[in-house]
Symmetry: C2
Subunit: 568 residues, 2 copies
């Protein structure tokens, strides 16, 4: 140690994903990551049967649960590990922040005990955590939408006119519908994001982000009114006041100090500042250097989230929603999404790539995606002769329709796997352009893009295609774990300047967020061809997506009936 | 040998394919095949450079030539071989018949010497045989169609309103356009079918079938008029009278007796009856037991030909053509086609089947197609959720448009290879139903179907799907080499009752043609679902195929420009 050196200040960011939790410890002076640790959830995604002893408790289709104890194990293993790896003094860690998937929610007792930990409810599926991709509450979502439309509920327009089965009230209402005895025991219904912060601080807080994006709350209108909720189910009328909270905390604020118990789990000092909970996609925005309007952040993984801010409140049809101060204070934060991106390419590699490509990849020691991208990159724009609609998992934005499906047109007897792969990549880029143009047409400008996530970092071909198709420069977040960095930044704000942290998330972002030293600029010659292809994409998009030809729904209906063994 | 046994009578049928020639010797009492021999053409399909010594003579794209000496080698090797294998006395062989691909044509001198055998023309591509799939005469075909439309030529309607680049006048005109010196030396322009019969008999004959289907001849109107041909090219005005013949021989008639020279090649007796030449798809009809109107014969291989007869003359839009007495005397013979069927499934297996399927097929010692059909057969109708347009190689009937391309709709992240494979099979069945319904809507009934060719014989799943989709029973030809059997039947008719043969092809068919002991009957429950799917197919077919959305052509145009390195 050098005598006289300034003692560093550090924060810990913990990112809770679908399969694992990840902690990093960060130097808040420049955002550099000193250590990383990952804990894969012991019980992962629970979608077949509950992890309980005795007779198996099988789950119906579309269910996806998690075990709340897995979240505690993330704290108990990863934070001690990053402290050990980095060798820093826990006294120099001034804050902890977390981000989570959303809406991932659970029922608890008044003291925060998950109902699934109560012995008499352990074999009750509705007592467990419902993961974001739990899709079994579709009947409840349908009712939420129908009743809202009938009553002309104004908040519906903030969410593109449709509430997803993934969201908070749909999941809560499913508990009430299907397991009223569990609902009766649920003294609290809470986002897992807020629940893990509760476990760190010892008292309950609620963040404004999940309330706004997933529970139809707004600063001006609050939650949906009591009589609307009563119309959904008489026993649902008082759900907000009996099981939730109207006391919502701003992002970056201090939820509390680390409890003695959590200090023993983590090795951090009791009293260390804990930031209010956040959501993975939202917390990534300042971590990708974006603290102003007009710059889109795309979090690209199995699916893509598109985040953008505006000083203005705008209704943009077909988006996932917007929330005042929902990403950064002072802005309306808008979210859109594409429901299959990495999943799309993953499906192709799993189901449609010939043997000889896998042989070649193995011989050359390459990932199969890298091989397909190398071969795809050798094609000129337009050379594949193919065009696809990127709806293998439905369309989230701008059509908000899970009943849509994938389409490929232009195949010939000379069509190759790399041509199809490239066409699928291009299709996701057209989908992103559609989202950008819908934002702009409704008064939310998009000037440039910062992308983060594995797909963005690993595929220059993909980034160049996105730049060429959208006509906008694409940059890449400097961190390989952007959400966790965002949580660490919020931790520094929660700690505040008095503790050596930052006064605002903007300040934290300017100090701690970086970009990679590469910009993908649109290439004019490619753009010209993509403009032609995009016009064709839009025509197919509208023909199949806006009701002129509902063949995709007819096919899904036939498939469902065939699988159920029903007559047509 | 049993004393007192009736001495059998035999004929030889020779089927000239794209890659090889095949001879069979048949007992004419029951059509049973005694022996088979195949000769793969030494020079195969010539599509890169001429098989000549010295500097290579490279061929442009879309060219496909053959070597006429390969055809003679078929006679010289396969007929002696089947005689040897069967052990029959050549004196008991009462006739020889042949069938050929069409239009496969060549320029010769007045004595029938192919121009490519003349030393000074050996390195001239236009002096060689142009195989049916030579597609380089598209500019000539375009001119043939345009001039015909301008002049309101009535014969154009017999061919669905469009003449193919594969046909006789397009290929002949290309010689004149591009190699007038070769055209000047061509004292005869002749179908290879007729040319090989000439080689057997020593004198030239011309058959009514290729004249009608490939050279715009009809019994009532003859060939296109002189002033039309002059409008194509002044030097083309007298092509019929100077280089072809208006003397056309009926199918089943005797072209002549085997020449002394051909007797030495083949081991047959000089003077043996030689039948007038025929075409592979057409000769298959009576060999598949069909000698009446209303029964379709489908010859299913890489592509499918659909043959049906009617006592009535009808204009059916989008068919390949119809000819009076063109299949059997006394009927108008109609032909339609699908340009990729086996090729379609072949493409899929080559370009889109994952590694693990190939592993499983190898482990179980199965052909990959058989494996995919086994897995596809386990799916209920409609279960794949997929629908395809079978246009990977354009659409021959009923749209007659090579600019169309393949489409697949309905893909999800759960879509499997066997689901896509089954959807491609179903797409070809929908294409067949479209052809059948177009025939029926224009007064040519289709009551049932006999299929022949490898695809029909090997795939019960395919046949059941075709029966279910079309709502018609499908039967399978009893012979594994239906065209060669048809040629042997025509040989028995050419020999006539005086030599122990038959008076008519109907008599020959009743005695010699058989069906397999299986009928694929439509299953009502499957038909109901396929009716729904077919309606969706028709809607996509018309939307993409009849000009409402020309995206397929836009994509092909972009592909062609990208490949040529041209700007958009």
């Amino acid at each position: 140690m050098v005598l006289g050196s300034v003692v560093g200040k550090y924060t810990v960011g913990v990112d809770f994903g679908s399969e694992s939790g990840r902690a990093i410890v960060v130097d808040i002076s420049d955002g550099s990551t000193l250590a990383t640790a990952v804990y894969p959830y012991r019980n992962g995604v629970i979608d077949r049967s509950l992890p309980v002893e005795g007779d198996p408790v099988r789950l119906p289709p579309e269910w996806a649960l998690q075990d709340p104890e897995d979240y505690l194990r993330v704290f108990q293993t990863t934070i001690p590990e990053v402290l050990r790896l980095s060798g820093i003094d826990p006294a120099d860690v001034i804050g902890v922040g977390i981000d989570f998937t959303a809406c991932t929610m659970l029922p608890t007792t008044a003291d925060g005990t998950p109902l699934c930990l109560l012995p008499d409810l352990r074999r009750e599926p509705h007592a467990w955590v419902k993961l974001w991709k739990h899709h079994a509450a579709q009947p409840e979502a349908d009712r939420i939408n129908e009743v809202a439309r009938q009553r002309g509920e104004a908040w519906l327009d903030r969410y593109g006119g449709r509430i997803s089965s993934e969201w908070f009230f749909a999941k809560s209402l499913q508990i009430l519908d299907e397991a009223p005895h569990v609902y009766a025991r649920a003294e609290r219904l809470i986002e897992a994001a807020d629940w893990v912060v509760w476990q760190l601080t010892g008292h309950e807080t609620r963040n404004v982000c999940t309330a706004g994006y997933k529970a139809m709350w707004s600063a001006s209108g609050g939650f949906p009114p009591r009589d609307y909720l009563a119309a959904l189910h008489p026993d649902f009328a008082d759900v907000v006041d009996t099981r939730m909270s109207r006391d919502l905390a701003a992002l970056g604020s201090r939820a509390g100090g680390l409890s003695e118990e959590a200090a023993t789990w983590t090795g951090l000092r009791a009293g260390t500042a804990v930031a209010v909970a956040n959501v993975d996609a939202h917390v990534a925005v300042p971590a990708a250097t974006v603290v102003e309007a007009g710059r889109m952040v795309m979090i690209m993984g199995t699916s893509t989230c598109h985040m953008v801010m505006s000083a203005e409140e705008r209704q943009v049809p077909g988006m996932c929603g917007y929330v005042q101060d929902g990403i950064l204070p002072g802005f309306f934060g808008y979210e859109a999404g594409q429901s299959a991106v990495g999943d799309h390419f993953g499906w192709f590699v799993e189901h449609a790539v010939p043997e000889r490509y896998h042989h070649e990849a193995r011989e050359r020691g390459m990932d199969i995606h890298v091989l397909l991208q190398e071969k795809g990159a050798a094609l000129a724009v337009g050379e594949s002769g193919l065009l696809a609609l990127d709806w293998w998992n439905g369309n989230r934005s701008v059509l908000v329709d899970t009943g849509l499906s994938g389409l490929l047109v232009g195949a010939t007897l000379a069509t190759t796997a790399e041509e199809i792969y490239r066409a699928l990549v291009e299709a996701t880029a057209y989908g992103t352009r559609m989202i950008m143009e819908t934002f702009e047409a409704n008064g939310v400008p998009i000037n440039d893009v910062v992308a983060c996530g594995g797909l963005a970092e690993k595929s220059p071909l993909l980034m160049q295609i996105y730049a060429d198709v959208t006509g906008r420069p694409f940059r890449i977040s400097g961190s390989g774990q952007t959400p966790a960095l965002g949580s660490a930044m919020h931790a520094a704000v929660a700690a505040g300047p008095g503790a050596g942290g930052y006064a605002t998330i903007q300040d934290a972002s300017r100090a701690m967020a970086t970009l990679r030293d590469v910009t993908y600029e649109p290439i004019a010659a490619n753009r010209a061809v993509y403009d032609v292809l995009y016009r064709e994409y839009v025509r197919l998009h509208d023909y199949f997506g806006r009701g002129e030809n509902d063949v995709m729904k007819t096919l899904k209906g036939l498939r469902a009936r065939a699988r159920a063994g029903e007559p047509t």
